[in-house]
Amino acid sequence: MGTGVLSFHASTKSLTGNLGSESASSQSGYVGVTPVEGTKHSEEPLSTLLDDVRSVYGQPSHRLTKLIDLALQASESCQEAIGFIEQSQIMNSDIEMQRAQSFVYEMLPYRNLEEGTALVVASLAMAFINMAGTPFDKKQILCVDRILKGVYSSPFMSVDKAVDFTIDMEDCGFVMDSSGLNIIFEDALESGFASGE
């Protein structure tokens, strides 16, 4: 069984959720798993997390296992990166963040467990794309790590919770927009789209 680092609460399923409200997040239709602040990743090996998952969901699917495993590994890289950056070893920190980026991209095919989970993993991938190779600062690495912990400890995430995570990312300077799509759409808006001009 688990280490007690996760807590669980039941919720009910709803076809149409009110995404902006707190109450809607409890309508995700899945059992939520809430991380406890300040948990060190090294205390949460995959087998322990999967024990916790098993106790709530039954036998975890391949998709769920892979997502948790990859988020766990990406988080591990973030923690290494934080250690390096604290010793001013910027290059080594960046190497670890490159690993984290690779794990985040690997998470993409497994993200569709719940709408919020998919949203936060896609946003994380987009944030990495928009960094365009620029090294992460400590605040940003800590933010990525918080999100990865959120994913592996709460793999069935509500949209409301996911949006909070992306607001945290935005506050840390991450950009989660698609620049290409923005150019196309903003240009269309300026050309009179929707105004009939």
């Binding site: 809607a24 095919p109 991938a125 987009m126 789209f193």
Partner: protein, 276 residues
């Protein structure tokens, strides 16, 4: 002061819809002026009317785009849908092609199907839309939301689980039978200002000036008649000119329209053209 060139120093900013949109929906270079401009002020006043316009305008356009991804499940079909909505100028077409190539380069893993690509963009857009809506009342810490409009319901966008489409119909005016539009009730308290604005746009033939003049005339000459939701929308920039406190500056990226109205009432406007 970095931005307030030639204007008396003021510490309050009254945000219009363009600035709210820049801050909530644009990133990088786009919207940079607005994000920098609000840092110059001690107090940020955000009228609910700006949120109302934001919801029925820019936010609803991004929801349209989001729904295209959800329904077509295709990046190329979504781009085609955008281009079919506007007469594409040659420059725009070129920009679109470059942007499309940027989109394709943004896909982080190879071998994703067109539907998987579209799903990726749909989820990124869902985050953008929901984040913007969630932050609307707190564009910067300490934002002071003013001029509440009881007939306007700030309903959250709803996600339909079956087809993943978003619907922001819950966010709209709910005028009660026989009750006047709340925005109109606020504006009608200032008949002298209404008259000054009518004079300022007298003879103008642009569509928005014609419809604004008509609604201003109605409020001035027949104040007991109620305004409907469409007429409320037509108040537009006149709302900001009348409601901005005299010790504030109206922040906007649409300086031309706002200055014409604000000047008539002796109020200040700051727009990107005012800054070097």
């Amino acid at each position: 002061m970095l931005l307030n060139r030639g204007l008396p120093a003021v510490s309050k900013a009254f945000l219009d819809t363009t600035v709210l949109t820049d801050i909530l929906l644009k990133s990088g270079e786009l919207g940079l002026w607005s994000r920098e401009a609000i840092k110059e002020y001690d107090e940020i006043l955000l009228p609910v009317y700006a949120m109302k316009e934001f919801s029925s305008g820019p936010l609803s356009y991004w929801i349209w785009l989001y729904n295209k991804f959800a329904l077509t499940k295709s990046l190329s079909k979504t781009i085609l849908a955008i281009s079919s909505m506007v007469p594409m100028k040659p420059r725009t077409a070129q920009t679109a092609l470059e942007a499309l190539s940027l989109c394709n380069n943004s896909i982080p893993i190879s071998g994703m199907t067109e539907e998987e690509n579209a799903e990726f963009y749909r989820q990124v857009l869902l985050g953008k839309i929901m984040r913007a809506w969630k932050k609307r009342r707190n564009v910067v810490p300490g934002t002071n939301v003013v001029d509440d409009l009881p007939c306007f319901t700030e309903g959250d966008p709803l996600l339909k689980q079956e087809d993943k489409t978003l619907n922001n119909a819950a966010c709209k005016c709910h005028l009660r039978r026989g009750k006047d539009c709340c925005a109109a009730a606020i504006i009608k308290k200032h008949p002298d200002d209404i008259a000054a604005l009518i004079k300022a746009i007298e003879g103008k033939s642009r569509r928005e000036d014609v419809s604004r003049r008509a609604v201003l005339h109605k409020m001035l000459n027949t104040p007991k008649l109620s305004l409907n939701a469409r007429e409320c929308r037509n108040i537009g920039d006149a709302y900001f000119a009348i409601q901005a406190p005299r010790d504030s500056v109206i922040l906007t990226t649409n300086g031309k329209d706002h200055k014409e109205l604000a000047d008539a009432l002796g109020k200040q406007v700051l727009c990107p053209q005012d800054t070097p």
